[in-house]
C-alpha cells in the first residue's frame, strides 16, 4: 500500500484540519469499494494513499498546490457514485468533496442556482420545486451530483425535452485548475453574478467539457451556476411510501401517456412530430419489456421464457412515455388534442396513464425524479450501457435497431439477462426534438464468470458505431478510447493533450479518463 510522505500528509492536515484527512486503511477501503461501472469488472478500484475532505474553494486550492509540490496525483469526486470517481492507480490522493454541499443561491426569477459539488439532484430539485422550478437529472438518478454531471461526467436525463442536457446547462463555473490556479468562467470571473458561462471573448467552457467531462483530469470544480427549468407540478408533493410503493396525488394538469408505435420508423415519426408541435414536457422511449425486469426481476426470468408473453412484450417494443404538463387545463387539453391527432396521423396508439391506478407512482418515479438507480440493478445486481451518442433522433433509433442485434448475440451466450434484447431508452431533448439519444442497457450478474464476454460486447458495440456511423456515444467512452477515435476525428486527442499540458504542467490530475500531455504523444 502506497502512502503519502509524512511532510505532505502534515501539509494536508494544516490545510484542512486533522480530522479531515485520513490514511486509515479501513477508511480508504471504503473509497476503493467501487463495483459500479468498474471496467476491470472487479469490485475494487486502486486504494487511494489518503483521502482529504476540503470545505472551501481555498482549501481545495491548497490541496492541489500541495499535490503539485509533491508531484502526487489527485482524484476528486463529488457523490462518488461510480468507479470513475476513484484513483486509477495506487498512491493518489482522493479529494472527497462531501463537505461542500451547499445550495448557495437559488434565483427564482432568473431560473438558476449556484451549487457546490455535493449537492445532489434530489436536494436541488426539492428546493427548486418550491419555487416552481426543477433541474435536469441524469438517468443515474437523483442521488447524483448536479455539479459533477454538468462539469465532469456525462449522462442523459429522461426529462431532457424540458430540462436540456447537463453539460449544456452550465452557467458560471468556479474551477481550481490542476496547477492550483482558480479560474472563474464567464460572468463570475468579471465580478458579475453567475448567469453566464461564456466570455469575455471565447467560451472557455469548451476547455473543460464537451459531450462528456474529464472526470477530474483537469482539476476540481468547486461551484457552478446551473440552469433551472419551469416545473408546473405541486410545489411540495405529498409522497407516501418508498420506491415501488410510492403513492402521490397528481394534479389534473399533469397527464402521462404510453405512446405505442408499430415499428421503429413510426416511433421516430411520432417523436419528430411531437417535437415539431412543441407540446410535451418529456418523451422517452420505454419498452414494455423493461417493466418486468425493473419491477419484478425474479418473475421476469420466467416471464421472458414464455413465448406468448415474449411476443406480447415485443408487440410493445416501440413504446414511449410522454408527459404533458402545465399549470393550465386549457394548455394540457390542447396538447392532448394534438398528441392524439399526431398518433392518428402516424399510425400510433396513445394510452392515458393518468387514468390508471398506479399513475402517481409513474409520475413521481419516472416523470419527476428520473428513475432511482436502485431499480436498474434489480435484475441481476449490475448493468452496463452502450451506444447512446447525442445525435439526430432518426440515427438514435437506428442505434436501437443495431444494438438489439448485437445484444442478442450476448444474451444467447448467457452474458446478459434475457430481456428480449431491447430495453433501449432515450428520448428527444430541448423542446423541439432538437436532438436525441437512445442507449442500450443490459443487466447481468457480476459473479457469473462472463466478464470477458461483456467486455467483448462493449468492444463490438463500439466498433459498430463506427461501421454504421452512429456517432460517438457511451460505448466509446472508456479510458484510452482516444487512441482509436482520436485519429478518426481530426486528432481531437492531440488538442486535448495540448490543453492538458497547458493546464496541468506537473501532471497531477489523474488522466485515465482523459489524455496524457502532448509531450508524451508527440515527444
Amino acid at each position: 500500500m502506497k502512502l503519502l510522505s509524512k511532510d505532505m500528509y502534515k501539509e494536508l492536515e494544516d490545510a484542512v484540519g486533522k480530522e479531515f484527512v485520513s490514511q486509515e486503511p479501513v477508511v480508504l477501503d471504503g473509497y476503493a469499494w467501487q463495483p459500479i461501472f468498474n471496467l476491470t469488472n472487479q469490485k475494487w478500484t486502486p486504494r487511494p494513499a489518503a483521502v482529504v475532505l476540503p470545505e472551501t474553494t481555498e482549501e481545495v486550492q491548497k490541496i492541489v498546490k500541495i499535490c503539485n509540490k509533491h508531484k502526487v496525483k489527485f482524484k476528486p469526486h463529488s457523490t462518488g457514485w461510480a468507479a470513475w470517481g476513484s484513483p486509477s492507480e495506487e498512491g493518489e490522493l482522493q479529494i472527497d468533496l462531501r463537505r461542500m454541499g451547499k445550495i448557495i443561491e437559488l434565483d427564482e426569477k432568473n431560473k438558476y442556482a449556484i451549487v457546490e459539488p455535493y449537492v445532489c439532484c434530489a436536494q436541488l430539485m426539492a428546493e427548486a420545486m418550491k419555487k416552481g422550478l426543477t433541474c435536469h437529472v441524469i438517468g443515474a438518478g437523483p442521488n447524483t451530483s448536479a455539479l459533477a454531471s454538468a462539469t465532469s461526467a456525462w449522462g442523459y436525463g429522461g426529462t431532457g425535452l424540458s430540462t436540456g442536457y447537463s453539460g449544456r446547462n452550465l452557467l458560471g463555473v468556479e474551477w481550481v485548475q490542476p496547477s492550483g490556479d482558480i479560474l472563474r468562467l464567464g460572468s463570475p470571473g468579471s465580478d458579475s453574478s453567475w448567469f453566464s458561462g461564456e466570455g469575455p471573448g471565447p467560451g472557455l467552457r469548451g476547455l473543460m467539457r464537451g459531450f462528456a467531462g474529464t472526470q477530474g483530469s483537469l482539476g476540481v470544480f468547486t461551484k457552478i451556476g446551473i440552469k433551472l427549468f419551469p416545473y408546473y407540478g405541486p410545489k411540495e408533493p405529498k409522497v407516501d411510501g418508498v420506491l415501488l410503493d410510492v403513492q402521490v396525488d397528481v394534479p389534473e394538469t399533469e397527464k402521462m401517456f404510453f405512446v405505442v408505435a408499430p415499428n421503429f420508423q413510426k416511433y421516430a415519426d411520432i417523436t419528430y412530430k411531437v417535437g415539431d408541435a412543441e407540446i410535451a414536457n418529456w418523451f422517452t422511449r420505454s419498452t414494455l419489456a423493461a417493466g418486468p425486469e425493473l419491477f419484478m426481476p425474479r418473475a421476469a426470468k420466467k416471464i421472458y421464457k414464455s413465448k406468448p408473453i415474449r411476443s406480447l412484450l415485443q408487440t410493445f417494443q416501440h413504446q414511449g412515455v410522454i408527459l404533458l404538463s402545465s399549470v393550465s387545463k386549457r394548455e394540457v387539453a390542447y396538447q392532448e388534442k394534438v398528441l392524439r391527432q399526431i398518433a392518428k396521423d402516424t399510425g400510433c396508439v396513445v394510452v392515458d396513464l393518468s387514468q390508471t391506478a398506479g399513475y402517481g407512482f409513474w409520475w413521481w418515479l419516472m416523470g419527476v425524479r428520473s428513475i432511482p438507480t436502485a431499480l436498474t440493478f434489480r435484475a441481476g445486481g449490475d448493468f452496463l450501457t452502450s451506444y447512446g451518442s447525442p445525435v439526430e433522433y432518426d440515427n438514435a433509433i437506428k442505434q436501437a435497431e443495431v444494438a438489439t442485434q448485437y445484444k442478442q448475440k450476448y444474451i444467447d451466450k448467457g452474458s446478459f439477462f434475457d430481456d428480449t434484447s431491447d430495453i433501449g431508452w432515450g428520448g428527444i431533448y430541448e423542446g423541439t426534438a432538437n436532438w436525441g439519444h437512445v442507449e442500450m442497457a443490459a443487466m447481468f450478474v457480476r459473479s457469473d464468470g462472463k466478464a470477458s464476454e461483456r467486455m467483448e460486447y462493449l468492444e463490438e458495440s463500439a466498433e459498430s458505431t463506427v461501421k454504421q456511423t452512429l456517432g460517438l456515444g457511451l460505448s466509446n467512452l472508456p479510458p484510452g478510447s482516444w487512441k482509436i477515435y482520436g485519429p478518426m476525428l481530426n486528432n481531437y486527442h492531440l488538442w486535448q493533450a495540448r490543453i492538458k499540458k497547458a493546464l496541468d504542467p506537473n501532471r497531477v490530475g489523474d488522466e485515465e479518463w482523459y489524455v496524457p500531455p502532448i509531450d508524451e504523444l508527440e515527444p
Partner: protein, 484 residues
C-alpha cells in the same frame, strides 16, 4: 515568390484585391477605431484554399483578418491592428449546402447572408432564428460566431445556440470539425445514416466550437457552420405591451418566459421602436414589450386561442395590457419586420445616420438600474435622451438578458461624434462596475473589460498559444496583444 504571387497561386488573380481605395476601407469602420490598411484582400472559394492561406500565413508570418459580412461594419473586428495584414473575405463562399426539414437544421458557408438563408429555409417550412433585424448583408456564420442574441428566448437553450457544428481551419492550419459532425464517418456517410450535424457538443471531452465562438477570428476560420432552425408558424400574432416604467414590464416578462408561451419576446424603448417601425417616437409609450405567439401545424387557431387567454389572464395580474396596435405601430407590421432581415438603411442608423452600440449581458431584474445610470450619464454629457435607443433581449429562456444602448448621432458632426465617444466610454465603465458582463468585448472598452478578469486573460493566452502559436490570426484583438 512574394506574398501576392503566393496568394494568386492559391485563389487566382481575380480573387486577390490590391486596389488601394478598397484596401483603405478596411482601415476603419463605424466603431471609432482606426487601424492599419491591409496589404491585400483575398477571396477564397473553398476549404482547401482557406487552409492553404493559413499555412502560407504561418510560413511567411503575415496576419490574417477574417471578414464575412458585406455593407458597413460597426465593431472594429475586421480592422487590422498590425501592418502587412491580409483580409480573408469569405463573401465568395456562398453555398447553402443543405437544409434538412426533418431535423430542422441548415449547413451554410460563411458568405451566406440572413436574407439568402431565410428565403431558402422558408421554402422548407422552417424559420431562421435571427438577431433583431440584422442588416441584409450580414453573414449568418459571422453572427453565430459573434454570439449575437436571437429574438426567441424559448429556443435558446445554451449560449452557443443556434450554432451547431463548425468546419474550421485552426490558426495552425489544421482542419477541425466540431460537434457530432466530427464523425465517425464523412458528411456523406453521416447523411446516409440519417445524421444531420446538429449537436454542438464535442467531439469527446472538449468543445472547440464553443472556444472559437466569441474569438473574433483570433483562433481560427470557419468554412461552414450548421444552424438550428425551427418550424415556421402557420399563423402568428404579435402583441405590444406598453409601459411608462420599465419595471412594470419585468415581472410579466419573467412570468411569460416561465410559461414558455411567447416566441419572440423583447423590450424596446420608444426610440428603438421608432427606429424599427418608422413611426414617430413622440406618439409611443416610453417602453414596449413585444411578443409573438404562434400556431404550428396542428390546430393552430386553438394554440393561439389558449395562449391569448392565458396571457391576458396573466397580464391582468401584473396590471399590464397587451394590445395589437399602439400609437401607429401594429402587431401585424411588427411580425413582418421580426421575421425578416432588416432593410437598408440599417435601422440603428435610420434616425441620425451614425450609431454606437453599447451592449452587455445582465439579468432582467437589473435592467432598470442600467437604464437609470445611462440617463444620468446622458444628462451629464448633454446627450439627448431621444437619441438613445434601448433594446433588452431575454436570452437562454430568460436566465439572462442582452442589453443594448444605441447612441445615435450624426457622425459627420465632429462635436456629436465626440459626445458619443465620451458617453460610450463613461457609461460603459460605469456598467462594468455595476456588474454588466461584457461577454463580447469590442472597441475602446476592451482593456477595461479584460482588466476585470485577469485569471480569464491568463487562460485565454494559453488557449491562443495552443490554437494559434504563431499569432497570425487577427492579432491585437481581444486580450491578445503583442506580448502573447
Amino acid at each position: 515568390m512574394g506574398t501576392k504571387e503566393d496568394l494568386i497561386q492559391i485563389v487566382g488573380s481575380d480573387n486577390v484585391v490590391t486596389d488601394k481605395c478598397i484596401l483603405e476601407t478596411f482601415r476603419s469602420d463605424l466603431s471609432f477605431h482606426e487601424g492599419e490598411t491591409p496589404e491585400y484582400i483575398v477571396k477564397p472559394k473553398s476549404f482547401d484554399e482557406v487552409q492553404r492561406i493559413v499555412w502560407l500565413a504561418n510560413e511567411k508570418g503575415f496576419p490574417l483578418v477574417p471578414c464575412s459580412s458585406g455593407g458597413e461594419r460597426f465593431k472594429g473586428t475586421t480592422i487590422p491592428e498590425t501592418k502587412g495584414a491580409v483580409v480573408v473575405d469569405f463573401s465568395s463562399m456562398k453555398k447553402i449546402v443543405r437544409v434538412d426539414r426533418r431535423n430542422k437544421v441548415a449547413m451554410v458557408e460563411p458568405g451566406v447572408t440572413f436574407a439568402e438563408l431565410q428565403a431558402a429555409v422558408e421554402k422548407e417550412g422552417l424559420r431562421l432564428e435571427m438577431p433583431l433585424l440584422p442588416k441584409p448583408e450580414k453573414s449568418v456564420v459571422a453572427s453565430l460566431l459573434e454570439r449575437e442574441p436571437t429574438t426567441c428566448p424559448k429556443y435558446n437553450w445554451d449560449a452557443i445556440d443556434p450554432l451547431c457544428c463548425l468546419e474550421l481551419v485552426l490558426g495552425t492550419g489544421d482542419k477541425f470539425v466540431t460537434g457530432n459532425a466530427a464523425g465517425p464517418g464523412t458528411l456523406e456517410q453521416q447523411w446516409a445514416a440519417k445524421q444531420a450535424q446538429k449537436v454542438s457538443m464535442g467531439p469527446a471531452q472538449t468543445d472547440i466550437g464553443r472556444i472559437i465562438q466569441g474569438s473574433q477570428g483570433t483562433l481560427g476560420l470557419a468554412t461552414w457552420a450548421t444552424i438550428k432552425l425551427e418550424v415556421k408558424p402557420s399563423i402568428q400574432k404579435c402583441y405590444l405591451v406598453p409601459a411608462n416604467d420599465l419595471e412594470d414590464l419585468i415581472m410579466f416578462t419573467y412570468k411569460m418566459l416561465w410559461r414558455k408561451l411567447p416566441d419572440h419576446c423583447l423590450i424596446l424603448n420608444n426610440i428603438n421602436l421608432s427606429a424599427i417601425t418608422g413611426v414617430d417616437h413622440s406618439g409611443l409609450p416610453p417602453w414596449v414589450l413585444v411578443y409573438t405567439i404562434s400556431g404550428l401545424e396542428y390546430f393552430p387557431e386553438d394554440r393561439i386561442s389558449y395562449m391569448e387567454e392565458e396571457i391576458y389572464e396573466m397580464a391582468s395580474g401584473f396590471n399590464v395590457q397587451p394590445v395589437q396596435k399602439l400609437g401607429g405601430v401594429s402587431g401585424d407590421k411588427l411580425i413582418g419586420l421580426l421575421n425578416k432581415p432588416g432593410k437598408a438603411p440599417y435601422w440603428k442608423q435610420s434616425l441620425k445616420g451614425g450609431v454606437k452600440e453599447l451592449f452587455f449581458l445582465t439579468t432582467l431584474d437589473k435592467s432598470s438600474e442600467f437604464v437609470t445610470i445611462m440617463h444620468q450619464k446622458a444628462v451629464s454629457h448633454n446627450f439627448p435622451k431621444e437619441n438613445t435607443g434601448i433594446y433588452i433581449q431575454p436570452i437562454r429562456h430568460g436566465t439572462g438578458c442582452h442589453m443594448s444602448f444605441n447612441l445615435m448621432a450624426d457622425f459627420n458632426n465632429a462635436e456629436e461624434k465626440d459626445k458619443v465617444k465620451i458617453l460610450y466610454d463613461d457609461a460603459g465603465k460605469a456598467f462594468l462596475e455595476m456588474g454588466g458582463f461584457f461577454s463580447r468585448p469590442h472597441g475602446t472598452l476592451v482593456d477595461a473589460i479584460y482588466s476585470k478578469c485577469p485569471d480569464t486573460v491568463l487562460a485565454l493566452k494559453k488557449v491562443k498559444n495552443i490554437f494559434d502559436p504563431k499569432g497570425v490570426m487577427n492579432p491585437g484583438k481581444l486580450c491578445f496583444g503583442e506580448e502573447v
